[in-house]
Amino acid sequence: MPPQDPKAPAAPGRPGHSRRDFLRGSGLAAAGVALAGSAESALHEAGADVVQTEGVAIYSGSCPIELKVNGEAMSVTVEPRSTLLDTLRNRLDVTGPKRVCDRASCGACTVILDGEAVYSCTTLAISCTGHEVRTLESFETGEGSVPHAFHQNDGLMCGYCTPGFVTACQAWLERNPGQEPTLDDIKQGLDGNICRCGTYIGVFQAALDAAKAMKNGRS
C-alpha cells in the first residue's frame, strides 16, 4: 500500500496550484519579474483582473468561479489569492474543514480533490474550477462509516483536528479498497495530520475498524 503524503507536490496534470507556488510567483512579481508558470495560467483561466503598476503585475480584484462541492455546483466570487479552505469556510459556509496551521503542516483542512486528499489551506480556490471537491460533511455517518468509527472509539476530544483525520482516513480507504491495513499502515497514512488533545490511540482504532467495515462491505 503506498503511503499517502498530502505534503507531496502536485503531480503533473493534477489540479491544485498550490499557494506555495503562487506565493513564490507573487514574490517574483513584487521584484518586478513577470509572474510565470502554473499560477499565472490559473489566474488567466479564472479571469482575474490584472492591474499593471510600474511594470509590476499585481493580481487583485475578484473572480467569479464555479466550484463543485459535495456534488453541488456552487457559484462564488473569490480573489486570486483566496485559498480553497477560506473559500469553503468564509464564502460557502462549508465549515467542516478547519483552519489550524494555515501552512500545510497539520492537516485539519484536508479535503478530497478528485479523489485525493489535499491540504485546502494551501490550495488556491481558482485552481479548483472544473474539479470535484469533497468535504467530510458529505460522508456517510451510519454504522461502518468513518465518522461512526471515530465516534465509537472516541477518536476525538475537542474535535478540531477530527475533520482532517476523518477525511484523510476516508481518502486512504477509498484509494485502498478492500485492504486490511496494519497499525503501521494507519500511522503512515495519517502522518500528515496533527492532534493536540492526543486522541491518536482512538483515531488508530477508528481507522482500523472503518477499514474492516469497508472490507466487509458495510459502507
Binding site: Q188, C197, I201
Partner: protein, 718 residues
C-alpha cells in the same frame, strides 16, 4: 451526606460522547465556524518587534481600502509594545483577505528599544529594564529543617542543573470569538472559551452593559488547555468593531499570534543539591530555581514535589523577558516541578548505586492524607505504592539495566527505562448549579453555564441524569456552553466534572421526585410506589408505564428544578505514576519511545471511554513536552523563530508508542467520589522520558526537550 448509587447502569460505563458524531462529521459548529448574517471578518496587526515605542500610527490608508469597514486601535500612539506578537490594532472588512490587507496598510513608526528575549539576556548587566521593578522578582523563600547539616551528614549527595523551555498551548482552534450586537446594550458572543460565565462578565464590564444582556455561547470549542479563560483584548476589539460597523464581527487569531500572545507554559530551571541516608531515603535538598513567564507573569512551580524531604531550602527567581505572558497550562507548575524533582531523585539513586524505584518508595511520606467523599481519609502513599507495583510489572522494569551497564552496551541503539510520580488536587467547587427539565413529551434537558472543552463533560452530565431517570444518555439533551444558564464551573484545575456532577445528580434526583409526586395520582399510585428504570415508570414493582406515556400525565407544565452541590460526592488529591521504555540512537540523538505506562487514580470514574481518552491525551501532551516542544526566541532579532506548526514540533501518528493506561479503580477509590482527571496524567510523562534517556545513555541530558540537539550535546560533554 450524599453518596453515588452502589450499583450503576450508566455511570462508569464506556459511553461514546453525545457530540462525537457531530464533531466527526463536520456538522458541529465551533465558535470559529459561526457566520451570522452580515458578518465581517477581522484580523489583528501585531508587533513585529520585541520591544518598541509606537511613535506614530496612521490608519488612513487602511481605512481607504475598499471593503475595509473599521479599524480599532488596541495600542495607541506613545504606547510601548513589549514582545513580538503583542496586539496593536484590529481591522474589520468584508473578507479576511481584505482585513489582512488593512492590517498591512496601517502605517506605524516605531522607536525600536533594546530587548531581552531570553533569561540570559534579561539577567545580563546591560539588559534593558523591562518593568519598573526590574527584570527579576524573588519568590517567597522556603525553608524546612536544617538542609546544610543534613546534606553534610548524607550518605550520598548529588548536584544537578536541569531545565525546561517555554512551550505554548497550541490550541487548534485559535483564540477568538464572533460578536453580534443585538441592540444598543445587548450582545451575543460565540466564544472559543473555557469559561462562558467569565467572558460574559468581562464583555459586560468592557462595554458597560448589564451582564444579563450578554449571551456567551460555546457549544463546542477547539482546545484551551488553560489559556482560554477571558474575553481578551481581541474579544473587546471584536466588540468595538461590531459596534462601529453595526455588523457582526468574526475575529480569531492567526497561528503566529496564537503562539506569541495567547499564552505559554513558563520555562523552569533548577540547581539542585540533594542527599539521602544510607537506606536510600531522601534527607535534604537545596534548590535555586528560575523561570520566565514572559513580560509580566510569574513562573512558580512546586518543589520539593511528591516526596517527603525533611530538610529543604529553596530560592526562586522569576525573570521577566520580552515575551508573551504565561497562562495556566494543563496542571500549571506541576510538570516543571515534577521534572526537576524526579531528575534529582534519579541522579541521587545513581549516586547511591540503588534502583531509583526503591529510592522513591523509601522517600514517600509515611502518611500523606487525602480526603474521601465518604469521610474516610486515605493515605496517598499507599496508593502510590500500589500504583508503582502495577506500573513496574506493566513496563517490565526488571529488564532495566543500570546506567553503567547501558553505557557499556555495544551498538548505537541504547534502551532505557524511566519513571516519575505526580500529584494533583482536582476537587470540585460547591457553588455551581444545574437545571433539570422533564417535559410532558418525555424529553429531558439539563442546563448549566459550564462548557465541554473536549473532556466529555456534556456526556457525563447526561449519564448522571440518565442513571437517575432510568433512560439512555442519548435521551438527555445536555445543554451547556450558554452563559444565560445557571452558574457553571470554568474548565480549569480539573474541577469541571467534580463541580458539575453533584448538582447534576442533585437536580435529576429532585426532578424525579417531583415527577413522581405529580404523576402518581394519574397512575393510581403513591409517589413512593414509583421507580424509573429501563425507559419505563414501574408502578408498585409490576406495572410498566412507558416513560413518554408517564410524562404525558404532567399535563402542560414541565418539571423544572435547579439544584446545587451535595456533600459527599467528590474528593480531591490524586496520585499517579508513569513508566517509560525507550531507545536512543547515540549516533543521531533520536529518541524512539517503545512504551509508556500510566497508572492513575481519580476516585469514581464516570465514563471509562472518555476517562481513558483524557489519560491518553495527557500522556501524549507530556510526550510532546518531553521530546519535541520549545518556543525558540532569537536573541539577536528578539523574534520568535518557530511560531508555526512545522518547526514548533508536535507528535504525529508515527511518534505515538504503545501506551498502556491502568485505571487505579477499586471499591475504595469509587467511594471517594468524583475527582477531575484532565491534568494529572500529563504531569509525569516528560520527567519519566528524561529519566529513561539518562538510563539509556548512562548520562543525564539536563535540558528538555530530549531532542537530537540536546541529546548529542549531553553526549559530547559526557
Amino acid at each position: 451526606m450524599a453518596s453515588w448509587p452502589d450499583s450503576t447502569r450508566v455511570i462508569g460505563a464506556a459511553v461514546p460522547r453525545l457530540d462525537g458524531l457531530a464533531k466527526a462529521s463536520g456538522r458541529a459548529k465551533y465558535p470559529s465556524d459561526e457566520r451570522p448574517d452580515g458578518v465581517l471578518f477581522a484580523a489583528i496587526l501585531h508587533s513585529p518587534h520585541a520591544h518598541a515605542k509606537i511613535t506614530k500610527i496612521d490608519t488612513s490608508k487602511a481605512e481607504a481600502i475598499p471593503g475595509v469597514k473599521a479599524v480599532h486601535l488596541i495600542a495607541e500612539e506613545g504606547a510601548t509594545v513589549r514582545y513580538h506578537g503583542e496586539e496593536i490594532a484590529a481591522v474589520a472588512a468584508e473578507s479576511e483577505e481584505i482585513a489582512r490587507d488593512g492590517c498591512r496598510a496601517i502605517a506605524i513608526e516605531f522607536e525600536v528599544l533594546p530587548h531581552a528575549v531570553t533569561e540570559e539576556q534579561a539577567l545580563s548587566d546591560n539588559a534593558p529594564r523591562l518593568t519598573p521593578r526590574g527584570n527579576t522578582q524573588e519568590g517567597r523563600a522556603q525553608q524546612d529543617g536544617d538542609p546544610d547539616a543534613a546534606l553534610a551528614e548524607a550518605a550520598a549527595t548529588v548536584e544537578g542543573h536541569y531545565s525546561l523551555p517555554v512551550i505554548t498551548h497550541v490550541c487548534l482552534e485559535t483564540h477568538g470569538q464572533v460578536v453580534r450586537w443585538d441592540g444598543p446594550d445587548r450582545m451575543t458572543v460565540w466564544a472559543s472559551t473555557q469559561n462562558v460565565d467569565g467572558v460574559e462578565s468581562e464583555m459586560a464590564g468592557a462595554f458597560e452593559i448589564p451582564a444579563t444582556n450578554v449571551t456567551v455561547l460555546t457549544p463546542v470549542m477547539g482546545g484551551g488547555f488553560g489559556s482560554k479563560f477571558g474575553a481578551d483584548t481581541w474579544g473587546v476589539a471584536a466588540g468595538q468593531l461590531a459596534k462601529k460597523t453595526g455588523r457582526p464581527v468574526w475575529l480569531f487569531l492567526d497561528r503566529i499570534q496564537e503562539h506569541l500572545t495567547a499564552g505559554n507554559r513558563p520555562s523552569a530551571s533548577a540547581k539542585i543539591k540533594i542527599g539521602a541516608d544510607k537506606s536510600g531515603k531522601i534527607t535534604a535538598m537545596i534548590a535555586e530555581t528560575q523561570g520566565t513567564g514572559g513580560i509580566s507573569r510569574g513562573a512558580a512551580f512546586p518543589l520539593p514535589y511528591v516526596y517527603e524531604v525533611p530538610n529543604s531550602r529553596r530560592q526562586h527567581t522569576d525573570v521577566r523577558i520580552n515575551g508573551g505572558n504565561a497562562r495556566a497550562m494543563r496542571a500549571p507548575g506541576h510538570p516543571q516541578g515534577c521534572a526537576m524533582m524526579e531528575f534529582a531523585v534519579d541522579d541521587l539513586a545513581e549516586a547511591l548505586g540503588m534502583d531509583p524505584l526503591q529510592v522513591r518508595l523509601n522517600s514517600l511520606a509515611e502518611q500523606d492524607t487525602v480526603p474521601s467523599g465518604d469521610g474516610q481519609p486515605i493515605n496517598r502513599s499507599e496508593i502510590y505504592r500500589a500504583q508503582i507495583e502495577l506500573g513496574r510489572k506493566a513496563i517490565g522494569w526488571d529488564q532495566r539495566k543500570s546506567r553503567a551497564e547501558n553505557a557499556k552496551a555495544q551498538g548505537p541503539l541504547k534502551r532505557g527505562f524511566g519513571m516519575a510520580l505526580h500529584q494533583w488536587g482536582g476537587g470540585g467547587r460547591d457553588d455551581k448549579q444545574v437545571t433539570c427539565i422533564i417535559n410532558p413529551d418525555g424529553s429531558v434537558e439539563l442546563r448549566s453555564a459550564t462548557q465541554d472543552i473536549g473532556t466529555g463533560c456534556r456526556t457525563i452530565l447526561a449519564q448522571i441524569a440518565a442513571e437517575v431517570l432510568g433512560l439512555e444518555p442519548t435521551a438527555i439533551s445536555s445543554n451547556i456552553g450558554n452563559s444565560q444558564f445557571p452558574p457553571g464551573q470554568a474548565s480549569g484545575g480539573s474541577t469541571t466534572t467534580p463541580s458539575m456532577a453533584p448538582p447534576a445528580y442533585n437536580a435529576a434526583l429532585k426532578a424525579r421526585e417531583q415527577l413522581f409526586r405529580r404523576i402518581a395520582g394519574a397512575l393510581d399510585a403513591e409517589p413512593g410506589d414509583l421507580e424509573a428504570r429501563g425507559g419505563v415508570i414501574l408502578v408498585k414493582g409490576e406495572r410498566e408505564v412507558p416513560w413518554k406515556e408517564a410524562c404525558r400525565k404532567l399535563g402542560t407544565m414541565p418539571v423544572s428544578v435547579t439544584e446545587g452541590f451535595l456533600e459527599g460526592l467528590t474528593a480531591q488529591g490524586v496520585g499517579g505514576c508513569q513508566f517509560v521504555d525507550l531507545t536512543v540512537d547515540v549516533e543521531t540523538g533520536v529518541v524512539r519511545l517503545n512504551k509508556i505506562v500510566a497508572v492513575q487514580d481519580t476516585g469514581l470514574i464516570l465514563n471509562m471511554l472518555t476517562w481513558k481518552s483524557q489519560v491518553y491525551g495527557g500522556v501524549i501532551m507530556g510526550l510532546n513536552y518531553g521530546l519535541f516542544e520549545e518556543l525558540v526566541m532569537d536573541p539577536t532579532t528578539g523574534l520568535a523563530l518557530n511560531p508555526d506548526m512545522e518547526l514548533y514540533k508536535l507528535a504525529g501518528a508515527s511518534d505515538i508508542p504503545e501506551i498502556e493506561i491502568i485505571p487505579f479503580d477499586n471499591e475504595q477509590m469509587r467511594k471517594r467520589g468524583v475527582i477531575g482527571v484532565g491534568e494529572p496524567p500529563t504531569i509525569a510523562t516528560a520527567a519519566a522520558i528524561g529519566n529513561a534517556v539518562a538510563n539509556a545513555l548512562g548520562t543525564r541530558v539536563p535540558a528538555f526537550p530530549m531532542s537530537p540537539w540536546n541529546v548529542l550535546n549531553a553526549l559530547a560533554k559526557a
